[in-house]
């Protein structure tokens, strides 16, 4: 019994109204703060690594130069070159191109959000120097300063934004077979126009056009399916926040519904659509299941404690703490991300578990005949120390995520740490204040209760290692389990594929599969090409090297599947080759990079004069930088490693001369997915730090080096078991579950702390190992089982989720809870009996 905590318990009991009023006031302020400052950042970039600044800077550079690197991809199955299909497609194309809705975050990028949050955005990519014959001139563009100042002073006011004006489109471009570029030379005329201009008027014209288009390799795999039974609309918008992108996805889906028919079957793919649909599924799962989980928790606690105070108080502690934590995080500029979704689970683990431990001791005290106020004070005095240490270890575990290179994970750790610390505060203030309202209830415990089945089971489990044979058996079985678990844990693989989280019958999964099988794919990688020579990216040597690299890239075969994954590439090469052919009267042998620098420069002039808008997406105005977009089949994250190596080998092979150009792979999908492998390493180091810190805390708590080290054995076994289970069940480590080891550690440590704290208190006082174990079982054995049942039930609810990732998460956490309990009631007593001997009791201090 800790006197300080006991005194605190008494203080709260005496000032319960002050505590409740204070909690209400702070909660009201928190709700107001939350409303004012909360920001959701579910953007894909939030999960990109911040550690590799170059990778981020390259992506930002790409966006500076070429705009958004991803696009919505609408796939339409049907007889593409029937007149009816083309007419419908034409209408749909126009409707999507004219799509207008209020997008508050239009133009907003991660860099803007970083700046708004007071964060330093990624450093700009510094390209290698390029020789220039032109002397730097005075800044002619300084004239615009006056213009900007004038605009700010114009009498008619609004110079920014569209004001109330309606009619504009938020879409940057829509590309489909309707408007895709056709560069041709007919009768000595260079004609850069649309394939469907003029639009076919008869079935025969449409079919004839189809035959020509299907023969064009730049269209097939990009806007046209390989078999001609599918075409695609690429819808590219300006930058926007993820929530607006989700709304846009809904708006696109609503438009598609109007056109849907047996001969015109629509699907949406592309990174923004995939992200939106994953978000939608996850949100709907989380909303439903979190509610059910909460109800189940409430029901279980009501059943166990038989009183509204027993059922509601722990949840109230969790809810108030969560509101405070999220509000404080919002005020501190930390956004709510996909990662934050797991925080309620953390808060429930800590808040509910601590409350249940205190209520269990409290009702035991009541049953022992203490008054309500004394029982509360004694319960706080008895459990205050272990509750503090369980909270502290969990906070440390969460703060260890600071080592992760993904900002969202670091922020989740900080918010989580805050929440757990606040849950500790509320467990020691709000909970005892609420318990003062209990008049007579023993919270499910009978005054003269004998042992029930639960007690009998705990006693049996703890007593199993009482005899030497049982002890040996327990240790042997634990060792075997550990070895087997470690073996299977060693077979764990990193395999991150968000598509595998979704049941295959879901439209998003089907659309991506369709893009893979019938089109060139729904995923993209970009190459950022910086010309370092005199002619920049118009250098004929670069064009020739790119042509070789293009062939090389198209030949890439994924080692895991043996499939060719690159469906198409788009770059300046297309412009050069098309224009060259067109200027040579359409002769196919001229569909190539020209031989000389002069010809190359002139071809660019010809194209620029005909259709410069297409060039904007392919090279910068000063011809210093270009891009190549590689469309490829959907790959799981770790497959990007070999692909990157292949790309870099190709770049080194075909363009060894850095004075001509330097080329880097980039793009959102690329940056995000290459982060995953690095992240695993980060989290291992986070886990390592947490493990060391928690071990030290255990040693400090128990004031005993030996006991502190012994304690880590039952802490580690559940982690080995859960990782082994994952290996055995072939559940890979991915972004959805990579924090499982840290969560497992948090859960396991909490159980161990409660058990060992009570043991230590008694052992120090009386010197008897068996009595110490019995004392611990009496004070927390039942509570350990109860919290485990409550938490496991709460998490197993996630098995009913639609998304496989949530099902796995619920299953793994639920199992961890059970494994941690088993380790503490079987292994911990065995270890204590093995390492401690009875001794003379020391004087009570």
């Amino acid at each position: 019994m800790n006197p300080a905590y006991r005194a605190w318990g008494r203080f709260v009991v005496r000032h319960r109204w002050l505590v409740i009023l204070g909690t209400l006031v702070v909660t009201a302020l928190a709700v107001m703060g939350l409303k004012k400052y909360v920001r959701v950042d579910n953007s894909i970039e939030a999960f990109a690594s911040t550690k590799d600044g170059d990778v981020q800077a390259l992506l930002e550079q790409f966006r500076d130069d070429f705009g958004r690197d991803d696009a919505f991809l609408v796939l339409i199955e049907g007889d593409v070159f029937s007149l009816n299909y083309l007419k419908k497609l034409d209408q749909l194309h126009k409707e999507l191109a004219g799509l207008n809705m209020e997008i508050p975050s239009l133009g907003q990028r991660k860099r803007d959000r970083d700046l708004a949050r007071g964060r330093t955005p990624v450093a700009r990519y510094v390209p290698p120097p390029r020789p220039s014959k032109v002397e730097p001139a005075k800044d002619e563009f300084a004239d615009f300063d006056d213009m900007d100042a004038d605009m700010a002073n114009t009498a008619n006011g609004d110079t920014e934004g569209w004001g109330d004006e309606a009619g504009g489109s938020i879409v940057d471009e829509v590309i489909s077979v309707i408007n895709v570029r056709r560069t041709r030379g007919v009768d000595g005329t260079l004609d850069v126009g649309d394939w469907m201009d003029p639009f076919p008027t008869t079935e025969a014209e449409a079919r004839a056009l189809g035959t020509e288009m299907k023969a064009d390799s730049t269209l097939v795999g990009r806007v046209l399916g390989q078999a001609g039974d599918l075409s695609a609309l690429v819808v590219r918008t300006h930058f926007m926040a993820e929530e607006d992108s989700n709304r846009l996805n809904t708006a696109i889906s609503e438009i598609l519904t109007k056109y849907e028919g047996p001969d015109f079957r629509t699907h949406t793919a592309g990174l923004p659509a995939l992200g939106a649909q994953l978000n939608e599924l996850m949100l709907s799962d989380m909303q439903g299941l979190f509610g059910y989980g909460l109800l189940l928790l409430l029901g279980t606690m009501f059943f166990l404690f038989r009183h509204p105070l027993g059922a509601f108080s722990p949840l109230l502690v969790v809810a108030v703490s969560a509101i405070w934590a999220f509000a404080l995080a919002a005020v501190l500029g930390m956004p709510f991300t996909m990662m934050s979704n797991i925080l309620p689970a953390f808060f429930i683990c800590v808040g509910v578990a601590d409350s249940v431990h205190i209520i269990s001791v409290y009702r035991q005290m009541r049953a022992d005949g203490l008054s309500n106020d004394d029982a509360i004070a004694d319960a706080i005095g008895s459990s205050g120390v272990p509750v503090f240490y369980t909270s502290l270890t969990t906070v440390m575990g969460l703060l260890s995520f600071e080592f992760a290179s993904v900002e969202a994970i670091g922020e989740m750790g900080r918010t989580g740490g805050l929440g757990v610390a606040l849950a500790w505060v509320n467990t020691l203030t709000l909970l005892p204040a609420l318990l003062t309202f209990n008049k007579k209830s023993l919270m499910g415990l009978k005054a003269a209760q004998g042992s029930d089945r639960l007690d009998a089971y705990v006693k049996h489990a703890v007593g199993l290692s009482g005899a030497p044979r049982g002890r040996a058996l327990t240790l042997a079985v634990s060792s075997v389990i550990a070895v087997v678990a470690l073996y299977f844990a060693s077979t764990l693989r990193v395999w991150h594929n968000p598509l595998s989280w979704v049941p295959p019958e879901k439209s998003v999964a089907q659309a991506v599969m369709m893009a893979d099988t019938k089109l060139g794919g729904a995923s993209q990688i970009q190459l950022l090409v910086r010309g370092t020579g005199e002619y920049g990216v118009k250098d004929v040597r670069l064009a020739k090297a790119l042509a070789q690299l293009d062939v090389y890239i198209r030949g890439y075969v994924d080692a895991k599947t043996g499939d060719k994954v690159v469906g198409n590439t788009i770059s300046l090469l297309d412009v050069l080759r098309e224009t060259n052919r067109a200027l040579h009267n359409g002769q196919h042998e001229h569909y190539r990079v020209p031989d000389t620098q002069e010809e190359t420069s002139h071809l660019f002039v010809a194209f620029e004069n005909s259709d410069p808008s297409d060039l904007k997406r392919l090279m910068t105005i000063d011809a210093s930088t270009a891009q190549m977009t590689i469309t490829l089949k959907w790959l799981e994250a770790t497959s990007y490693g070999p692909l990157t190596e292949y790309l870099e080998a190709g770049i080194a092979k075909f363009l060894p001369d850095k004075t001509v150009a330097v080329i880097h792979p980039t793009g959102s999908a690329y940056v995000l997915l290459t982060t995953v492998s690095a992240l695993i390493g980060d989290l291992l180091s986070s886990f390592g730090v947490a493990f060391v810190v928690i071990t030290l805390i255990m040693i400090v708590l128990l004031r005993d080096l030996k006991l502190g080290l012994v304690a880590m054995v039952p802490n580690l076994l559940p982690i080995a078991m859960i990782l082994g289970f994952m290996g055995m069940a072939n559940i890979p480590i991915d972004m959805a579950n990579l924090m499982i080891a840290s969560i497992a550690l948090g859960i396991a440590v909490d159980d161990t702390i409660h058990f060992l704290h009570h043991f230590k208190v008694h052992y120090d006082e009386h010197g008897s190992v068996e009595d110490g174990i019995a004392y611990s079982v009496k004070h927390c054995g039942r509570a350990l089982v109860l919290t485990s049942i409550i938490l496991a039930a709460g998490f197993f609810v996630y098995l009913a989720a639609t998304m496989y990732s949530l099902q796995r998460f619920g299953l793994l956490i639920g199992l961890t809870v059970i494994f941690a309990l088993l380790a503490d009631i079987y292994l911990t007593p065995a270890l204590l009996r093995l390492t401690y001997k009875d001794r003379v009791a020391k004087a009570r201090s």
Partner: protein, 272 residues
């Protein structure tokens, strides 16, 4: 179509913005009448000019081009020849444009690439597209038919840099014009004195952008007002996507060596 636009463009500061004295009183409030007067001005002839085009993107990258141009009127419209002077790798690349007044007739354009050693005809393009990567479109360069617009006087007593002007809103009254220009509407600040726009603000439909054009450094040459510098910038929200400066470095009218017989493919292939 596009040739006519280009012909007008190179002489943009000359033909589009010259301002002879027309019968519109400073107190006039009929926006359509004012715009008809602005559009109906006569154009200079036998012109030689040297034009610098500069574009700067949002990342601060710049591109410069210098072209030399000659233009001449003929009964059906206007012919223009221009030659790239810089950058060096496109020097001597030339364009010949024939711009027909009859809007129904497609304009003609030939491009001469020295490496091909022959000129190639270029088909008409999209009017709402960017002109050679600048912030101006082909449609910006062409003379607009006032009948295609609904005009509204926003402020008959506006001023621009201390100069009295009319602030007029022009909104396309048919889909064809709206599609061709790419604008939902434009606001023009028209000088009462010079009868020429001093500033234009355009609402660009695609991408919900705004375009601002300012006519600067206006000088009187041979009795004609000439804009020596055009500043244009395209904004989306707060972000400036790109800026363009078109500076007329040299200009001269009624040049005797600008002769009709020089405006043909053969002469294009020989250079100016």
């Amino acid at each position: 179509m596009s040739t006519r636009i280009r012909a007008h463009w190179l002489l943009g500061s000359l033909c589009l913005l010259t301002a002879p004295a027309l019968a519109v009183a400073p107190g006039e409030t009929d926006a359509a009448k004012i715009m008809a007067a602005v559009q109906a001005r006569p154009e200079g002839n036998r012109t030689k000019s040297r034009v610098l085009m500069m574009v700067k993107d949002s990342a601060g990258r710049e591109r410069k081009r210098v072209v030399q141009s000659r233009a001449i009127d003929f009964p059906e419209g206007r012919k223009q020849m221009m030659l790239f002077e810089s950058p060096a790798d496109v020097r001597n690349t030339g364009l010949l444009s024939v711009d027909y007044d009859d809007g129904k007739k497609d304009d003609d354009q030939w491009l001469y690439l020295p490496s091909l050693r022959k000129s190639t005809r270029i088909a008409a393009g999209d009017k709402s597209g960017s002109f050679m990567g600048t912030d101006l479109t082909f449609a910006d360069m062409t003379t607009q038919d006032p009948r295609d617009y609904a005009y509204k006087m926003l402020d008959a007593n506006a001023s621009e840099g201390g100069e009295a002007c009319w602030l007029i809103e022009a909104r396309p009254n048919n889909d064809k014009t709206a599609t061709e220009t790419g604008y939902v509407k434009t606001e023009l600040c028209v000088s009462k004195d010079k009868l020429m726009p001093l500033r234009i603000k355009a609402w660009v439909k695609e991408g919900k952008k705004l375009k601002f054009i300012k006519f600067d450094d206006i000088q009187k040459l041979n009795g004609i007002w000439v804009v020596k510098k055009i500043l244009a910038q395209t904004k989306r929200g707060d972000e400036v996507e790109s800026k363009t400066i078109i500076a007329i470095q040299e200009v001269a009218f009624d040049q005797p060596d600008v002769k009709m017989e020089d405006f043909n493919q053969r002469r294009l292939e020989q250079g100016l």
